[in-house]
């Protein structure tokens, strides 16, 4: 293996800067020796030699930016080896199977008999009007979340951040970057790996008046702590007859990550949205991430704030106003349209948005709604839309049974049955644990084609 290739140091890395060579032509190297340093937006890392040999050529100059993964960067020849023997890097084959469409029809259900007192109706405010000429700044979702926390930490001394690797390591996904430097170790706290313990501790601290932000490295690990989130945080206000409450935020990346398998890749949106007492938020855009996280931190209720690892690096425009706080419980109409309603949230919005672009180009006037908050769920916006379009497609990464789409489907049937021109179709993650193999993972996820197929079905164009 004489060619040394630009390595990928994370599942999502596509290119990086070759910042420094630590060897020169003629150097003898053995396995484990550090050859070079490379830099990505996330980190600086070292490239180690795997084989023994002599460095015969450096193919990329130090300081070169944007070197694509798998580009040959150096030649290291073993004794008696010649450069011609270099095998080309193979990449994983593209999956050949066509995507499976999950298009389950909403089942019939009897209208609910109202024998208990009706729940009070939740009414959310609209987004605040932005002053004319407000400056919009492009930033990543990661930066938006980071700014939201920093601003709220500055504003309120009772707010603190706690979780695994949030402080000295600057966050496993760098969302808490620089918070330790500004706010110190009393307020930005690294915990041991004890999710059940520190989640419970934070709930207790919230009972006593503090406003914890608990970061779970990912929501998969919050399953260790789900008892404290539901049994302690969510139910406290009710159980105490309104006396004791837990003003706090549980946050971290949720949903499907890339190639990390069944235990590290799933969507908890529906799980938490099931629970009265919790507020559940799942933003898609950078602006929503910032405005809603600030709202969550100020909320007197326990908030489950579901981020998405794949979206951390995506950018959007965020208004530069003092205190950009968005209303909890209000969906956003991402595109107005008259033919069909597509409803999604978080990562699902990426599929929905791309599908919408294609559908609009094909002459279908799509109305696209980003829920943003999953509890309280903004049915009004969805119902209004469906009354206009008569058709609904929902998109989410989670499993179909008992999903957000199922809930929307039930509500639309209860409240807008007569307006429907077609059964609701749910596009969801497949009803299987997340597989690791690249081809199977792709099949397990919802995709743009499935959304288009569903829209074609509800508009009777297929």
């Amino acid at each position: 293996m004489p060619q040394i290739l630009m390595p990928a140091l994370s599942p999502t890395m596509e290119e990086g800067k070759l910042s420094r060579w630590l060897v020169k032509v003629g150097d003898k190297v053995k396995s484990g020796d550090v050859l070079a340093e490379i830099e990505t937006d996330k980190a600086t890392m070292e490239v180690e030699s795997v084989d023994e040999g002599v460095v015969t050529e450096l193919l990329i100059a130090e300081g070169t930016e944007a070197v694509k993964v798998n580009t040959p960067i150096a030649l290291v020849l073993a004794e008696g080896e010649t450069a011609a023997a270099a095998p080309a890097a193979k990449t994983a084959p593209e999956p050949s199977e066509a995507p499976v469409v999950v298009a389950e029809r909403a089942a019939e259900a009897a209208p609910a008999a109202a024998s208990v007192p009706a729940a009070p109706k939740f009414e959310a405010q609209s987004d605040p009007d932005l002053p004319a000429g407000v400056e919009m700044v492009e930033m990543t979702v990661r930066q938006a979340l980071n700014e939201a926390m920093a601003e709220e930490l500055r504003r309120d001394k009772d707010v603190f951040v706690m979780g695994e690797e949030v402080a000295e390591y600057q966050g496993a996904y760098k969302v808490t970057q620089n918070l330790l430097q500004e706010f110190g170790p009393e307020r930005i706290i690294d915990t041991p790996i004890t999710e059940h313990g520190f989640a419970g501790l934070a709930v207790g601290a919230a009972f006593a008046g503090l406003k914890p932000i608990v970061e779970f490295m990912t929501w998969n690990f919050a399953m260790q702590a789900i008892d404290q989130i539901i049994n302690s945080a969510a139910k406290q206000l009710y159980m105490s007859g309104g006396q004791v409450h837990a003003p706090m935020v549980f946050r971290g990346p949720n949903g499907v990550a890339s190639r990390v398998g069944a235990q590290h890749s799933q969507d908890y949106s529906a799980w938490y949205s099931h629970v009265p007492g919790l507020t559940v938020i799942a933003p898609y855009s950078a602006a929503d991430a910032k405005g809603l996280l600030k709202a969550a931190i100020r909320s007197p209720n326990p908030v489950v704030f579901l981020e998405n690892e794949i979206l951390y690096g995506s950018t959007g425009l965020v208004p530069q106003v003092e205190d950009f706080v968005l209303p909890i419980g209000k969906a956003r109409i991402a595109r107005k349209g008259a033919d069909v309603t597509i409803v999604s949230f978080s990562m699902g919005m990426r599929y929905a948005t791309q599908a919408t672009e294609k559908l609009v180009a094909a002459g279908i006037d799509v109305e696209l709604i980003d829920l943003r908050t999953l509890r309280p769920l903004d049915s009004d916006t969805v119902i209004e839309s469906v009354k206009k379009t008569g058709r609904l497609v929902t998109v989410e990464e989670g499993w179909p049974q008992g999903g957000i789409g199922s809930e929307l489907s039930a509500r639309v049937m209860e409240q807008a049955f007569d307006y429907l021109d077609a059964p609701v179709i749910r596009v969801t993650g497949k009803d299987v644990p997340m597989p690791y193999a690249a081809n199977l993972e792709k099949l397990a996820l919802p995709n743009v084609d499935e959304v288009i197929a569903a829209v074609n079905a509800v508009t009777y164009r297929s």
Partner: protein, 339 residues
């Protein structure tokens, strides 16, 4: 009157235990296989052939090697976390199947559906391959429960890290294991860090061998870079568990040379610290030096062994690169068993 709980702190033998020349060579071979396999896996990750997380065992080879040599292969059960490639290799699983699981191919041990963190073998009694930190402590205690229930005389070997040692379920398991005298050896692989957090920053007390004190579980701190020490302590611990005395804790003082996973910049520790371990404590170099000193092996014979191992690793890598991905229909299989 409160009584202070005291666990027997078993002292590691002052005299270094000896392995036979044959055992030394076996240990060398196993450890070298892990080392070369992991280096190759790191390289293949860099080429995009392996996705997601990939946690390498480089530096810690003596732990699983010494323990497995002291166990009864095929009878005693083993279970660990996500840093699991070495365990499978030493337990005798086919390197091709391990590597093909890393690349997510149909010939992988979990037919490509599990990935690097999730591999298992009923035949070899290896129960994973677990991605949730600490889960294996309870699961491993359950394997011991089954052993006692069935009376099959097997011992459960449950490995977890210094970071995992702070999870609550570990102590729930310690209590049950001692209460019911279950044949389990808890092996705490203390490599000083849990991701970027050093043990001093995460743990009120850092002598993990004493973590069973309030349950009166005996514990030993062992030089986990010296395969002789590991083997010797494991013999004692396994014997203790097998003869009905209940659980035993082995704290293995070890070190991982690489980052936590492939995407860890490892800024939390100094280069000198890593270099010191590599140069002065390397588990493989230690055995190699002894083999050459006693004359049981020569530079020449070790070179031959090295090329044999490289051939095995290359074969595994080739297989894992060319083996097809699982059939699309596999997406829908293995979810539940049709009764």
């Amino acid at each position: 009157m409160a009584r202070k709980a005291v666990a027997t702190k078993v002292k590691t033998q002052p005299n270094v235990p000896e392995l036979t020349n044959e055992q030394e060579l076996e240990a060398y071979r196993e450890m070298l296989l892990i080392r070369r396999f992991e280096e190759k896996a790191g390289q293949m990750y860099g080429m995009g052939l392996i996705g997601g997380f990939c946690h390498l065992y480089i530096g810690q080879e003596a732990v699983v090697t010494g323990i497995t040599m002291a166990s009864e292969k095929g009878k005693d059960a083993q279970i660990t976390g996500y840093r699991d490639h070495g365990h499978m290799l030493v337990m005798g699983l086919d390197p091709k199947g391990v590597m093909a699981e890393l690349t997510g191919r149909s010939g992988g041990l979990s037919r490509g559906k599990g990935g690097s963190m999730h591999m298992f073998s009923n035949e070899h009694r290896f129960y994973g391959g677990n991605g949730i930190v600490g889960a294996q402590a309870s699961l491993g205690t359950g394997l011991a429960f089954a052993s006692k229930y069935k009376g099959d005389g097997s011992v459960s070997l449950a490995y977890f890290g210094d970071g995992a040692a702070n999870q609550g379920q570990v102590y729930e398991s310690f209590n049950m294991a001692k209460l019911w005298k279950l044949p389990v050896v808890f092996i705490i692989e203390n490599n000083k860090y849990a991701m970027g957090t050093s043990i001093e920053r995460s743990s009120a007390t850092t002598d993990f061998s004493q973590r069973g004190a309030s349950f009166d579980i005996p514990g030993e701190q062992v030089d986990g870079m010296d395969v002789r020490m590991v083997y010797d302590a494991a013999k004692r611990a396994i014997e203790h568990a097998r003869s009905g005395n209940g659980p035993y804790i082995l704290e293995m003082l070890t070190y991982r040379y690489r980052g936590h996973s492939m995407s860890d910049p490892a800024k939390y520790r100094s280069k000198d610290e890593v270099t010191k371990y590599r140069q002065e404590r390397d588990p493989i170099e230690q055995v190699k030096a002894r083999l050459l000193e006693t004359g049981f092996a020569t530079e020449e014979s070790l070179k031959t062994l090295e090329s044999e191992i490289r051939a095995i690793v290359t074969e595994a890598a080739d297989f894992a690169t060319n083996d097809p991905e699982p059939d699309a229909a596999e997406l829908w299989t293995d979810i539940t068993i049709e009764a």
